[in-house]
């Protein structure tokens, strides 16, 4: 009876458009927000913040960006890592050129850079699709990482070739750089991820979300209901790369603290793609589930055996991790293309009719 919908009637279309037509969903979300905003910060230590909570949030955001492009609009991209890089380098240039600029504004502008670059590399999508488009985005990936290496102006001519995050204050609190505390950084990332998630839910459930899904499901029919394919696809690249770029800036500024070009190479693109696939393409929730799994897996693999007194080497953990993730990807692609989010949907439906399944 946990998920009883009886008695919850909708009397207007407006009520039908409430984010949580079923009241229990709202309770569940409130519970999760309570965990995220109160319980975790009160109980987590430095390790949990930096090895689990912060990366889960940032990877979720990157996967959310990719999911808008691939899961909603149906345009496969293998260039996510490079677009994250554009966001990170743009943010680095902004905060070093304009040290007085509010950091949130710098982040928002960094997103515009990655969105524009993403849209430019999305132009081939107007002529090619599927596998061929994926290859074109891969070209973007190679080109951009090469540019991050060669264009010394991007990293302010540091001899190391890497960008170092300076201390950045906001309203007297250090949010990024060597002096920032984990808890502040966690709250900062959490707030941004919540805000963008809220906006992304709204975009995907209205007119624009439907346009994207139409393009994904059958582009010819989409055109014949009056959808301008060019606008729809380019907007998907823009919005997606905007979110991905912000995720990239957070990735460096609020988590890694420093970065060189290689960080944004193909493995990062694939990690984000795997999160989106395992979590569920065409879902918002799935990005979080996928990120939790992918980030937590190596931590679990290295801590659990040790807790049982089994010695496990770091390289062993890495190999195990790759094997498990690979197996998961194959399983999900074959068995449940809608990913973990689909499992949640099934459980939720079961709970709604439980304990009377008829």
């Amino acid at each position: 009876m946990l998920y009883r919908v009886a008695g919850q009637f909708k009397t207007s279309y407006e009520a039908d458009y409430a984010l949580f037509p079923v009241r229990q969903d709202a309770w569940l979300l409130a519970f999760i927000l309570l965990l995220a905003f109160v319980v975790f910060p009160m109980t987590a230590n430095e390790f949990v913040f930096r090895a689990l909570l912060i990366p889960v949030l940032i990877y979720s955001l990157a996967a959310l960006g990719l999911n808008i492009l691939t899961g909603y609009a149906g345009q496969l991209s293998l260039g996510t890592g490079a677009f994250m890089g554009v966001g990170a380098y743009a943010c680095y240039k902004l905060v070093t050129i304009f040290p007085e600029m509010n950091f949130v504004i710098a982040l928002a502008i960094s997103g515009l850079f990655s969105a524009t670059v993403g849209m430019a590399f999305g132009l081939p999508s107007l002529r090619i699709k599927g596998f061929y488009l994926a290859i074109a985005t891969l070209a973007a990936q190679f080109f951009l990482v090469w540019l991050f290496q060669k264009w010394a102006w991007l990293y302010n001519y540091n001899t190391s070739g890497a960008i170092q995050v300076p201390n950045i204050d906001m309203f007297g609190v250090t949010v990024a750089g060597p002096n920032a505390t984990a808890i502040v950084q966690y709250y900062f990332v959490l707030a941004i991820v919540c805000a963008i998630t809220f906006l992304a839910i709204n975009i995907t459930r209205g007119r624009i979300g439907r346009i994207w899904k139409s393009v994904r499901d059958m582009d010819i029919a989409a055109e014949l209901v009056g959808i301008n394919l060019m606008k729809a696809k380019l907007m998907a690249f823009f919005v997606s790369s905007y979110i991905v770029g912000i995720a990239g800036a957070l990735f460096v500024f609020l988590w890694r603290g420093a970065a060189e070009a290689a960080l944004f190479d193909i493995p990062l693109s694939f990690r984000v793609l795997f999160i989106a696939i395992i979590g569920g393409l065409g879902s918002i929730l799935g990005n979080y589930l996928g990120a939790i799994l992918i980030v937590a897996l190596p931590v679990i693999l290295s801590t659990v055996p040790r807790a049982f007194g089994l010695p496990i080497s770091p390289s062993m953990v890495e190999h195990l991790n790759i094997m498990v993730v690979g197996a998961l990807i194959i399983t999900f692609l074959i068995v449940e293309p809608h990913g973990l989010a689909r499992y949640w949907a099934i459980i939720r439906e079961k709970l709604i009719i439980w304990p009377f399944p008829h």
């Binding site: 899904k213 139409s214 994904r216 959808i227």
Partner: protein
């Protein structure tokens, strides 16, 4: 015929009334159109017109060029020769989404729905051309975007009632049986509020009861909303019942054009349908 909700004025001002063409006047004119794919001549020098308010049938054996003709009309193909005049404006090359904006909607011979979306979402997608709130309002959702969404939802719900598909509102259309998919596709086309509705074999693969329902929907759309309809159909009985005038194509050429009774008794048509050698 069962009683069912009216779809006329209830759907707001149908666009059909404000396309500037009076009932009975020419809405669409096709002049000397020829279309070929490489060596294959799909359409050869065809001319006909569709008058405002009528149901116009296009018939002919398989491969006669009927679907190609619709594809030319809605801008999917550009003919090598000839002109299309819609609402008094002549055009040559155009994108399908422009044709939609001018008031041409269609359904497909092989259902072309958005399979991963629900019935409601599919029909709402048909309203895309009438919705304008930009991405910033969409992000906020509450306010103008929600208001627009609800306005259009109301129109879509009227179509859902009219087509008697309330029970499948939330079902992903990929899971629906073929007959219902065809009905949802009609709903999506109606949501566009076209002044000319093109239907490519709307009853293909249906059983008798489904065909009767579909015929009833087509007549009601035509009579209550004043929507002009051009339809392709194989079932001669259906064509004779529904249509005001019939064009007959065979091997890409027009072989007859006129009221159903006349066309039915035309020797060339009888030969074409009996498969007499040319």
């Amino acid at each position: 015929m069962n009683a069912h909700p009216a779809i006329g004025p209830a759907l707001g001002q149908p666009d059909a009334s404000d396309d500037g063409i009076a009932k009975g006047e020419v809405l669409l004119k096709v002049d000397n159109v020829s279309l070929s794919f490489g060596g294959v001549k799909a359409i050869t020098d065809i001319s006909f017109d569709v008058r405002k308010g009528e149901i116009r049938a296009i018939i002919g054996p398989n491969g006669a060029g009927k679907t190609s003709m619709l594809n030319v009309v809605n801008g999917f193909y550009t003919p090598q020769q000839g002109t299309i005049t819609f609402r008094g404006v002549e055009r040559r090359a155009m994108k399908p989404h422009h044709a939609v904006r001018q008031g041409i909607a269609r359904t497909f011979q092989n259902v072309a729905l958005f399979k991963g979306m629900t019935t409601l979402e599919n029909i709402m997608a048909g309203r895309s051309v009438h919705m304008h709130r930009n991405v910033f309002w969409q992000m906020l959702w509450h306010g103008p975007a929600l208001k627009e969404e609800i306005e259009h939802r109301e129109k879509v719900e009227e179509i859902i009632d009219f087509l008697e598909i309330e029970h499948i509102r939330r079902t992903p259309v990929g899971k629906l049986p073929y007959g219902l998919q065809k009905r949802v596709e009609l709903g999506r086309a109606l949501a566009m509020e076209p002044s000319l509705l093109l239907l490519d074999e709307p009853m293909a693969g249906m059983n008798l009861e489904e065909k009767e329902d579909m015929s009833r929907f087509i007549i009601d759309v035509n009579q209550q909303r004043g929507t002009t309809i051009a339809l392709i159909e194989h079932d001669m009985g259906v064509v004779m019942d529904l249509s005001d005038r019939v064009v007959v194509l065979d091997y890409g050429k027009k072989i007859a054009d006129g009221p159903p009774d006349e066309v039915k008794n035309d020797q060339a048509v009888i030969d074409a349908y009996l498969g007499v050698a040319h």
